[in-house]
């Protein structure tokens, strides 16, 4: 296993931020990464698609995208060495973003497949039950949970409509992992989860219009230092936006 494709910096690195952050998008060969690539490029990032770890590559951030089916993704991530690259990035404090299936893979197990997930977070991914229709398909509201420990880069970011296309969602064993929720029928499921420098979203930010693009921009610009700021929040305001007091370090 070649592990030389190491992240350029860790959370405590004093290295200056490059003008164009380089973003690795893990490519497990299951479809459409063009939109995601285009979204990051639009935001000024340098995108590197990796279908296997590349020796000596330096990068600032890593994205596990959300395309394809669970077992296919697991098998590809395992057989290509990309799993180890992701684990190494997490361990080194590199900001990691998991999208849809890429987020679901970070948990222990999924009802969608037989393969185990990465097991970074305690919990499992389960199928929607007792909802109007499956897949949950279309635009739905992402609402920040009051009192959660979200990183500074998300402070003040408004609730909004995001595009979803999924039949499964995570059921965390630790409720502190849930940063935002979305309601579908009787189910309220986590739509943004995270801990420290690893964040996962159930929606597709690259397909969520201006709101989604703004989310990615925040992640690119502010997510560099994995500082966790306890928020003194008063909850979700009448407008659906998060009511947050001023933050140090933001």
């Amino acid at each position: 296993m070649d592990m030389s494709a190491v992240p350029a910096t860790g959370p405590h690195s004093q290295a200056a931020r490059p003008k164009r952050p380089s973003v690795v998008i893990v490519d497990y060969q299951a479809g459409n990464l063009r939109s995601l690539t285009a979204a990051f490029t639009t935001l000024g990032a340098h995108v590197i698609l990796l279908d296997r770890p590349k020796p000596g590559l330096r990068f600032d951030r890593l994205v596990v995208p959300g395309v394809g089916a669970f077992d296919w993704a697991c098998q590809r991530l395992n057989s290509t060495g990309l799993k180890e690259l992701i684990q190494r990035s997490v361990a080194d404090g590199v900001p990691v973003l998991g999208i849809c299936l890429g987020m679901q893979w970070l948990w222990e197990t999924s009802e969608e497949g037989r393969e185990p997930g990465l097991g970074l977070w305690p919990g499992r991914v389960i199928r929607f039950r007792n909802v109007p229709r499956v897949p949950h398909m279309g635009w739905n509201q992402v609402e920040w949970v009051a009192g959660t420990r979200r990183p500074a880069w998300l402070a003040g970011f408004p609730s909004g409509y995001a595009y979803f296309a999924h039949s499964y969602y995570p059921e965390p064993a630790d409720p502190d992992l849930v940063w935002a929720v979305t309601e579908y029928g009787p189910v309220r499921f986590p739509s943004v989860v995270g801990r420290d420098h690893v964040v996962g979203v159930q929606f597709h930010p690259e397909k969520s219009g201006a709101w989604g693009l703004a989310f990615l921009q925040r992640w690119l610009e502010e997510g560099r230092a994995p500082c966790i700021t306890p928020e003194t929040m008063t909850g979700i305001s009448a407008t659906g936006e998060v009511d947050v007091r001023s933050h140090s370090g933001h």
Binding site: A30, G31, N32, R34, S35, A38, A39, V67, G68, A69, W72, L101, P132, R133, V134, P135, H136, M137, G138, W139, N140, Q141, P158, G160, Y161, Y163, F164, A165, H166, S167, E183, Y184, H204, E206, K207, S208, G209, A210, W211, G212, L213, A214
Partner: protein, 262 residues
Amino acid sequence: MLARRLIPCLDVDRGAVVKGVRFHDLQQAGDPVELARRYEAEGADEVVFLDITATTEGRATLVRVVERTAEVLRIPFTVGGGIRSVADADVLFRAGADKVSVNTAAVENPRLIADLAERYGRQAVVVAIDVNLEPGGGYRVYTHAGKRPTPWEARAWAQTAARMGAGELLVTAIHRDGTGLGYDLDLLKQIVEVVEIPVIASGGAGRPEHLRDALLVGADAVLLASRLHRAQFRVWELKQYLNHCGIPIRWMYGPVSEALHD
């Protein structure tokens, strides 16, 4: 709450939109990418490209359109028309399509639906069903652009397609298409009752009330085809109307995405 969707459909022939053009101020009125961007800015929730190109060279042009669309569109888009195999779909997914829509090939080989779902996930697989109300009554499935009858009754095929792994059904009432008389609400009711996947209504919309009626009988989305393109309804106006009717729709975050289109 999950919003109901408005989805403009653009018929594309050899890389150009062939009907329903209504943005006369555009430099290239027939450019599907330009039109898709305009619809996005107006508040469309998704866009469908229906390729009606017959020639092989034309297909290559479509792939280029899909690539250009994926570069600039920040809402999902589906590509349908002439997809006969996983290999056909793979070209479009790689070019940047979020979903593919299959019709005739799925009826001839339902296993195609399962193969696509296994590889790309069922959320990426739309099965388009063209239905005609037969003279003697009953809803029959047609293929080959609505020209050839099949043995399938609409509900039975809808259930089969869903069981094989379809993520959505795009149900077009042939007998209403282009009439402006409204969607076939009876057909939609029958389909939404027998499947648990989302259903997109298509065929017959001519007035905003028709969109409302389809959504109220249980459709998850409405396709806005040529007749509505030509009419003087803008997407955001239609959404405003639906919102007024109490139907959940998406409002865009911040100023209309001008920033995306500078």
